[in-house]
Amino acid sequence: MSGDPLVIAGRELSSRLILGSGGFANHELLRDACAAAQVQLCTVALRRIDAGGESGPGRSILHVLQEAGVEVLPNTAGCFTARDAVRTAQLAREAFATDWIKLEVIGDDRTLLPDAVELMAAAEQLVADGFQVLPYTTDDPTAARRLEDLGCVAVMPLGSPIGSGMGICNPYNISLIVEHASVPVVLDAGIGTASDAALAMELGCDAVLCASAISRAHDPAAMAAAIRAGVDGGRLARCAGRIPRRLYAEASTPMAGLPSL
């Protein structure tokens, strides 16, 4: 939807769908998903370079993204402490020449839920170090507000745990976050299918980040197109202003002029 750009930290983004690059079986599927999802940003992680591995010479995911015209949003996936997350962000800035960082600090590897205390500490340090910080956070409205107060340029609440596909477990909390946020809200984690993305946008989120629902779908490119349509439909509906929910019916046909038969 051109003419309705997303603006984060003064940077105008044409797409309200951000792709996570995790979970794709190969680079071709990622490339096709980028095209079908019409994304401008895609997350990448940093790992040790193994001369024969995925990140090795000539096989870099960066080539795929560059050819697809997609920009990189580095993340701190796999970090459990503020210290590790800050160092990973600094390495990412060096590797990718961007001061944008998708900040993730995870509490445990079973739920992958954010560790709020470590997250706040990392966000504070990274903002002070000049980063544009986009933190992955719980759906706690207070946590989102605190992250914004620390100077984060967006907040990225989860709908449900990473890769769970459970959608948005607490739409009420997401609504509260949206209501109070003055930075963009990006629904991050938990999207399972197109309707989840549409709901996120209908709740007023500014964008959606999605990977597993696309990368692990039977047909990733087709699901990418579906979630793209979900984001666009939800955004249109949000801007259109939905009718309130009512307990009882409200006739749309006037009773006046009803004939006596």
Partner: protein
């Protein structure tokens, strides 16, 4: 001289630099998407060739992989 590169013991000549380690992984010195940490601290690209390793140094050479959600 012994150093640890990405968790593996390596034997390098005395005076070897960070740039030597990067090259040993078949990476060009200007390779985009590569970052190096020495003993946990970032070594900026411009300092790779002038940063000499010492015995027991821990070097991490990192690159981009698919990741996120």
């Amino acid at each position: 001289m012994r150093v640890v590169v990405n968790g593996e013991d390596r034997r390098l000549r005395a005076g070897a630099t960070v740039a030597d380690v990067v090259r040993s992984l078949d990476l060009a010195p200007d390779a985009r998407g590569v970052a190096v940490a020495l003993d946990g601290e970032v070594v900026v690209r411009g300092a790779w060739s002038s940063t000499v390793l010492s015995e027991g140094a821990r070097v991490e050479v990192l690159g981009a992989i698919g990741g996120g959600r």
